[in-house]
Amino acid sequence: MEKEKSTRKFKGLELYDRQVEKDYFLLPFRFHRLTPEKEIIVNEVGDYLILPNGTFEKIVKRQIFKDSDEELYGDLLSNFFISEEKVSPLIDVLATRYRTKKSFLDDFTSLHIFVVSLRCEHTCHYCQVSRVTQDKGKYDMSIEHINKGIDLMMRSPNSHVTMEFQGGEALLAFENIVYAVERTKELAKVFNKKVTYVICTNLAVITEEILLYCKENDILISSSLDGPAFIHNENRKRPGRNSYELAIKGIELSRSILGKSRVSALMTTTNLSLEHPKEIVDEYYRLGFKSIFLRPISPYGFAVKNERKNKYETEKFIAFYKTALHHIIDYNLKGEFFSEDYASIILKKILTPFPVGYVDLNSPAGAINNVIVFNYEGSVYATDESRMLAEMNDFSFKLGHLDTHSYEDIFYGERAAWIAEASTNENLPGCSECAFQSYCGADPVHNLSTQGDISGYRPTSSFCQKNMEIIRYLIELMESDKRIRTVFESWIQ
């Protein structure tokens, strides 16, 4: 008989087993009941497994065995749920992935909102802040404050910042926008910054001349569109009841000059909107938008400290959201590409290993870390909602004033520290054990304004109610229907 060469003495699979006495160690992960039959487990970097109910308990009780549960055991091990060593041999890989997920923090504040004017020619019934007036002196941001805001923006450690002009109606102060852009362009060269410019406008007063300036300077237009005429005009009151017509004309004009991809639209959800999910979706589709943002955070219901009312309104919003989402999915199943932005943000967090820096759904929260607001009269706020809150005389999130506070006072001051403490859902009560933690975020401003406490209280939090159900629903949808999964995958490519 031919003697086998020593190199050919191949060994069996069992010889490569590293497990000691059928024991294993748990890595950090959390679980959630997904449906009556299924539960989900999610690890620290957002990888998940969907399992039959009761599996979580078995895992924890060390009742999963390599030989009899071969596939599940391999899944748990390779997806960083368990380890055969006290310290996983790939702990550094897990650490790198965690750092990657949180790397939206690396560069610090990017979005700098300049409220250039509080004046507006609209009187939208949900708007608490704007004023119909000619008094520029009182309600426009002064050149001095614009300068100071730009100087602070140039101090951001981020090499790529976004300068967003808001109102009121920002375009009523167009000459100040031009001034701000021109000054920023010069300073950006000195400070080596890439700047993205955005003007938020209801489009009522937009002109060709304004748009040509936008084209020349690569400025994006972010407009408002609440749905078809009967909704939009009801929500957005202005003399002549022609807000919708002006918006449509404005969108067309903007697209013709800037190109389709440079013009976006945002909707605000009102009680009237809640009755018409499909009509709103259809309107966006009809106008040739490739996506719609069904914003769960909107001034509607904002700052209402009535728990029961909040819960009810949120339920209504979730029902609205689901109907609209299905309608959007149907477009996709018919072969059209049309996505929903809030779902896309959450799906990116669930399905990719990359960071998603969306300011309203981050942990640590976007406030200060990713966004800062310079108000028309020189006050500095942590978020856009913070200045709305201030209009109702709650100045909790006022970080300082451009005239009296330095960069350090504003970004690293006591107020900032106080907000930061309630900004990570990893350490918020309720969130700290929640399976959806890495897909969700923290919103201290919302907590304070709706619950009177910056840390909030999860069982009655409308932020939690909304996100928990939307996240759960998105996962349920893609796990139960392969076609929907494919649609969702196409949204995040």
Partner: protein, 389 residues
Amino acid sequence: MLLKTKGVSINIEETLVGKVTRLPENLTSDSFLLVDDEIQAYPDKAHLGILSKQNDIYDLDNGSVVLKIPTLEHLTEGDIVSVGADGNIHTLYRVDSYHNTLLATERCNSNCLMCSQPPRDKNDVSFLYGIHKKLIPLIPKDCVELGISGGEPTLMGELFFDMLEKIKHELPDTEIHVLTNGRSFAWDHMAYRLSQVDNNRLMLGIPVYSDYYQVHDYIVQAKDAFYQTIAGLHNLARYNQRIEIRVVLHKLSIPRLVKLAKYIYKNLPFVEHVAFMGLEYVGYTPHNIDKLWIDPMDYNKELGEAVEFLANKGLHVSIYNSQLCVLPENLWQYARKSISDWKNSYMPECQSCSKLEDCGGLFTWNLKKHSEHIKPFTTNVLELSSGIE
């Protein structure tokens, strides 16, 4: 394809490396004159030696000669050969091929069940590198791609980096493709040292066969291999090295193939290319065939899902060593004609196949072990008639 021949050597003490030419006027001090059937006059130009089919010629004083070589037909003007004291003539570099490879060492720290070039445990590093040191400067500067394989090349130690630096210096425009199991790069200093070579034309092809350590370690027959390779990949990524993942398809890698694709996307999203490769029936494979064989037709579902998952995520994906008639049409766009010319063959029935031009065919050694579903495409009659309409 013949890559090795042997004659009777005279006046050769250490291995010589040089280009070959049949034209005496082209001789230089680092080239050999090839003498086929016609006896040639002893060249007056300086040369490295003469390789001849003749029995005896010339008044030999000190010149190096190999006589009685059975054939020289396989050598083309400009090919580079090594000529040993024992009269062995190895083709090291073929000017007409895109698939030239330097064998760094036959040693390996793994012992894969399907290794196509089974490792040998002998210290060949300094001998082989001695040859490569002479070879590298002779390689034409317009060489498009050069492979480095083993064994495990990193077992050369510092000489590995020395070799890569020499290559970068001599062949700055050549794509360098190194096949390594990546385990050595679990040592951070090895990955760092590689980055010091600073060659952005250098790409490492590293195999990962499963997302589950035990299966991978079993396939490569080495404890700790999976964790070392994954740690190595992360170290390499930290130093911005270019990486290709190579997955061999067989009965042991198929069951978790889709999970492996997801693992790659989640944990190794920085890789530049993922190649799924059909099994070669050579080396250890015939010995282990019962553990490894699955008809490629029977893994199309898993392969398709893995490939499309990664491609949809924007990764560059290829399928190697597959035949079009065995692959579903939606995957053809990923199939590459990847088999090196000298190992490439087709089945007799392929001659009548209308896709012969586009198909990568088989490894010559896979003529003995191939899918049961190889079947030539005939030009579709319906397609033709509808074209006429």
